[in-house]
Symmetry: C2
Subunit: 383 residues, 2 copies
């Protein structure tokens, strides 16, 4: 029957197979062809075909047998995470964070530059430039060695990488991040909303790794959400999914007021959570009020999607131990089925990691030459 398969079909199948093999090899022990075939569900012949091709491209290498091995051990293969470099940038209200990673998302160097929330557009763009320059130099790589760049920003982002709307940073609305970054890196650039990318990071390397449907909450001075549906980031028709916070009935707008009410002026919000943990009754009431409000919008997301998991991330996730139980009780009040609640382990670094994942998706999508960007990518990697 094989003669019934022509070039186009074959290439489509081989591309899917290559991505399947890379997904298994990435982040795992070296594997033999037999093990790889079993894990991917591909035939041994297809597996061998894909591995041969990936060896040629430098994405995969053969592992030396352990010293002292007798006889002829089966060849084992591993993903070459150091075949390329990725850049992930988180442009937040209070900081810019840039991370240079290998192809598994392991951070080689990370730089953080503080920015005032009321900084103007120019100042924030300058901070991005400084941050990226420092991250590249810290990692010892040039801009030409970066295969792909992902950028996370607060606000809604359109398909070209322009910020359509930013409530928290009004000066930021309309900024064209792709055009700005084009001066610094010459490989592909993708821009996406920060909550969406933090959700992606959890599904990639975080606490939602094995879940197909996930509601991710970015809990901090603002509350946001990112959704993983059927194992993929859900963007929506105009890239505006997850914006339940815009509905006053969802309670997210007013939620932080409970915390501010307890604080003395100038104090860090973190202190409410610390005081609540230490048994301060008024602080505990403030946290309960905050949780009661974010639970309404969270319940709306849960009732809509019936996810497997709710993940709490963002700045407040460091204090999530005092939030999880009250949140569970509130969800029990409103939801037909309360999902498992997990706390992100990334603190405020998840967004940048999600940006790295976005860069990696760009690289994967150009694998096997179905995009004009590919020759440049592989050229960069081969030099």
């Amino acid at each position: 029957m094989s003669e019934a398969l022509a070039g186009g079909d074959l290439q489509r199948l081989r591309q899917l197979n290559a991505v399947a093999v890379l997904r298994i090899l990435r982040g795992d022990q070296p594997l033999t062809l037999t093990e790889l075939a079993k894990r991917t569900g591909l035939s041994r012949a297809s597996t061998e075909d894909v591995v041969r091709d990936l060896l040629g491209r430098g994405w995969v290498s053969e592992v030396e047998p352990a010293p002292g091995t007798v006889g002829r051990p089966a060849r084992r293969y591993r993903f070459r995470a150091d075949a390329g470099r990725l850049l992930g940038v988180d442009v937040g209200g209070h900081k810019v964070l840039a991370a240079v990673t290998d192809l598994e998302g392991d951070v080689l160097h990370q730089t953080r530059v503080p920015v005032a929330p009321d900084a103007g557009r120019r100042q924030r763009l300058a901070a991005i430039d400084d941050c990226i320059t420092a991250a590249l130099s810290g990692a010892g790589v040039t801009a030409e060695q970066i295969w792909s760049t992902g950028v996370a920003t607060t606000g809604l982002v359109d398909g070209t990488g322009k910020v359509m709307l930013s409530d928290s940073l009004p000066e930021w609305t309309g900024v064209d991040l792709t055009a700005h970054l084009r001066r610094l890196v010459n490989s592909p650039i993708r821009v996406e909303n920060d909550c969406k990318l933090a959700a992606l990071a959890e599904n990639w390397r975080g606490v939602a790794r094995y879940a197909k449907d996930v509601v991710f909450l970015l809990a901090g001075l603002r509350t946001g959400a990112g959704l993983i549906i059927d194992g993929k980031l859900h963007r929506g028709f105009a890239n505006s999914a997850g914006e339940i916070g815009a509905l006053p009935a969802a309670g997210w707008e007013r939620a932080p007021e409970h915390l501010h009410g307890w604080l003395t002026p100038g104090a860090e919000v973190e202190q409410v959570f610390l005081a609540a943990r230490d048994g301060d009754r008024a602080a505990q009431r403030a946290v309960r009020g905050y949780v009661r409000d974010i639970a309404i919008g969270t319940s709306a997301l849960v009732l809509t999607l019936d996810p497997e998991l709710v993940v709490i991330g963002g700045g407040f996730s460091r204090s999530a131990d005092v939030m999880v139980e009250p949140l569970r009780r509130e969800l029990d009040r409103w939801c037909l089925r309360t999902p498992e609640i997990r706390v992100s382990a990334f603190a405020d670094e998840g967004v940048a990691l999600g940006a790295v994942r976005l860069a990696l998706e760009q690289v994967e999508s150009t694998l096997y030459g179905n995009s004009p960007a590919t020759p440049a990518l592989f050229a960069a990697h081969r030099r």
Copy 2:
């Protein structure tokens, strides 16, 4: 490279190809191999291979050239919708509706049996039996000729076809519809929530045919929702997606009170809409109040998913002309982007059509023998 593809890969690819060919042929004009290859994106050789196989199974037939054709015209093929029969059943609060259709969902015969909302479990099950028997006999088919059955019911349904929870029909919680129907039909039976199936029907043959992300509202004495995400029905982790109505802040629970407040006891709800259309101010206020309340939960769904379309279906959809504009205005108030709003053309028959679609999905999933149910299916069809 073809020797690199082994049996398992080939079969997987051929199954996908067969479904792609059937999807194109179904509901379209007869097509030549060249046209089919172009529309599916498959190679001509793969297309020919699939068509040859489908001819053998009786799913596809060759169309006679038009009389008087000279020369050798290219062969054209069409889907044989009459190769099999499907049964779709809608078990509602006020009625049971059963439809016998061909494989395109064209209804051969449909039967409606009224049931009182306060009927007990036994009475409702008896109405189902009567309704199915009458539909089969009206269509002139025996139960053995039905390839697959889909059943829609109010309430949450588990993976085995048992009703987990029904708020509107308390006696209905716990009923095992699959087990009950097994006595009437011996082909596969699938059971699903009515709002979900009505959404599926709109995406299949209704006003949401070309949309990938859809919020479907079942508007009637109860309000429910079904979600199409990325072209597929979204069920959720425990099959409980779309249940935003359970959240009091969503307003769906209290929405019908506006309508009842206007009505004299015993009058049909429909009359409020008729009066509003005729200019009755009090009726218009009642409709606006109703719309204001359902708009909150609808906005929560829209803000969460950012769908391309909102579809209004269910009993009230016949009066949707007086609802659409007020609903659009309310969504404009709360949503970042108001999606297009369309009204279902199925009135209260969309749910049964969705049940037919569920039956058809079952048939498609067993295509090419990856389920034990297949031999029986094809045996039934060949007799």
